[in-house]
Amino acid sequence: MCASTVMPGTTLRGIRRIRTTSSAAFVQLARQRPAETVEWTEAEAIRRAQTGNSTAFEFLYQLHSRRVYALCLRMMGNPADAEDLMQEAFLQLFRKISTFRGESAFSTWLHRMTVNVVLMRLRKKSLPTDSLEETLEPDAENSGPRRDIGAPDLRLSGAVDRVNLERSIEKLPPGYKTVFVLHDVQGYEHNEIADIMGCSVGNSKSQLHKARTRLRELLQEEVREQARQERQSAKSSTASLD
């Protein structure tokens, strides 16, 4: 597995030490599986998992679950859905692990499954209005957000806090949201995102730019809304004083 395929920002390069510990809440599991330390490479763990080795499955899970969970959490916006989707993604992965031949990075394969699972769930929900197919079409001029260059802008400096940004990310269409989270939050490169999403690098770049632009608009709306509410509360407080 080449170095470029290792997930960016990860500390899990090469040999990874996993210490399985039992907590009081999971005494039953601890009885089944005593504390053990395993030193494997990812490729070795994959090979063992393909033979049904339970420790290898756990190794791979421990290796990738934190990033997958963060992705699901960011995409879905709530822990319950994130847990559900992460389990579904790993389930699909482990069911098909015997077919993994190493043509792509294992992490890319896993994230592709995760993204697919997440997007399918998001499509089932009625809230998002844009589908992935629509947002993945760079040529459709009307599908992406448009910016009126000459319109008065509201500078976001100082107005972008974590809550506002999370709320705005949740409002993004699934395709935009996926690319934005993968690139700007999780640190993937465009070629990796193209592998995960099954699109071209140029498409990934285009999606990212549109996602950022759309986020800007959403944040501006948030800021305006907050300003409106502040004005209303100020008016109501003034009226009560009068």
């Binding site: 053990e36 069911r95 770049k205």
Partner: protein, 271 residues
């Protein structure tokens, strides 16, 4: 460069570093300056989000249960296989109840096989252990008498080494020289036939097994086998050189031995 050109550059090249033309445009365009500043703010804020998050432990537990239920996970103790341990450290594994039970069952099977071989399958040596006195003294009815015994009485030309009468005097008040002298054709089965007949008389005197149907079926099979043996002996009497009949007779004796063993086991298990 126009504003839309700058946006195209931002889309393909990212936020930095920008080409000279783009920077020149930015220097004179407040809207694009604000636009670029906002995008940079968003990117910086997004990078503050954690790229990893600890999932609850219950996810793996649930996942593992599901994978085990589906049979995806098969090996349960792979680490123990990896770490090579000295052979003497594996002794405690033999003390597990399941292992002990398996070893016990194996020992029982071997002992049973040896017992059956000792009792029914002893090779011919020309000598026969003296049967128990009580059994030997027991009067044998013609119907219970083994077929070989009955036919043996009609064939007096038996070599002295095979004459059982010299070692085991018969209980019947008949002439020993006429009672236990198997013909040459039956000589090969003589010892086995006598042992089988004694065992058969023991079995006949045993109480029926718990299941009357099983007991009746076993006795019916025994009767059928006896009839077949009698037929074979009759045929061999007429054609002593018939190898096929001899093989049939040999096979019939083996079946009779197995059947009697089954009847003994059945009676023993019930008592």
């Amino acid at each position: 460069m126009q504003c839309k050109d700058l946006e195209a550059v931002l889309e393909q090249e990212g936020l930095s570093p920008l080409p000279v033309e783009a920077r020149e445009h930015l220097a004179g365009c407040t809207a694009c300056q604000n636009f670029l500043a906002d995008l940079s703010t968003i990117v910086v804020a997004a990078k503050q989000f954690p790229a990893e998050a600890d999932p609850p432990d219950r996810i793996w537990i649930s996942l593992r249960v599901q994978l085990e239920a589906e049979g995806v996970i098969t090996a349960q103790n792979p680490v123990a296989v990896m770490e090579k341990t000295p052979w003497w450290q594996n002794f405690p594994t033999f003390l597990r109840p399941r292992t002990l039970a398996a070893v016990g069952a194996g020992v029982f099977l071997v002992a049973s096989s040896l017992y059956i071989m000792e009792r029914f399958g002893r090779p011919q040596t020309g000598k026969i252990d003296k049967p128990p006195v009580a059994q030997a003294a027991k009067p044998v009815t013609p119907a219970q008498t083994n077929p070989v015994g009955t036919t043996a009485a009609k064939h007096p030309n038996v070599p002295p080494s095979n004459q059982i009468a010299t070692k085991n005097p018969p209980a019947q008040p008949e002439d020993s020289s006429t009672v236990l002298r198997p013909s040459p054709s039956e000589n090969a089965f003589g010892d086995s036939a006598i042992v089988l007949s004694q065992t058969e008389s023991d079995v006949q005197s045993m109480r029926p097994a718990g299941s009357l149907r099983v007991d009746a079926a076993l006795r019916q099979n025994l009767r059928t086998l006896n009839e077949f043996i009698a037929e074979c002996e009759q045929h061999l009497k007429q054609n002593p050189q018939d190898q096929l009949a001899r093989e049939y007779l040999n096979s019939a004796y083996q079946q009779k031995a197995e059947l009697l063993a089954a009847m003994i086991d059945s009676g023993r298990s019930e008592h």
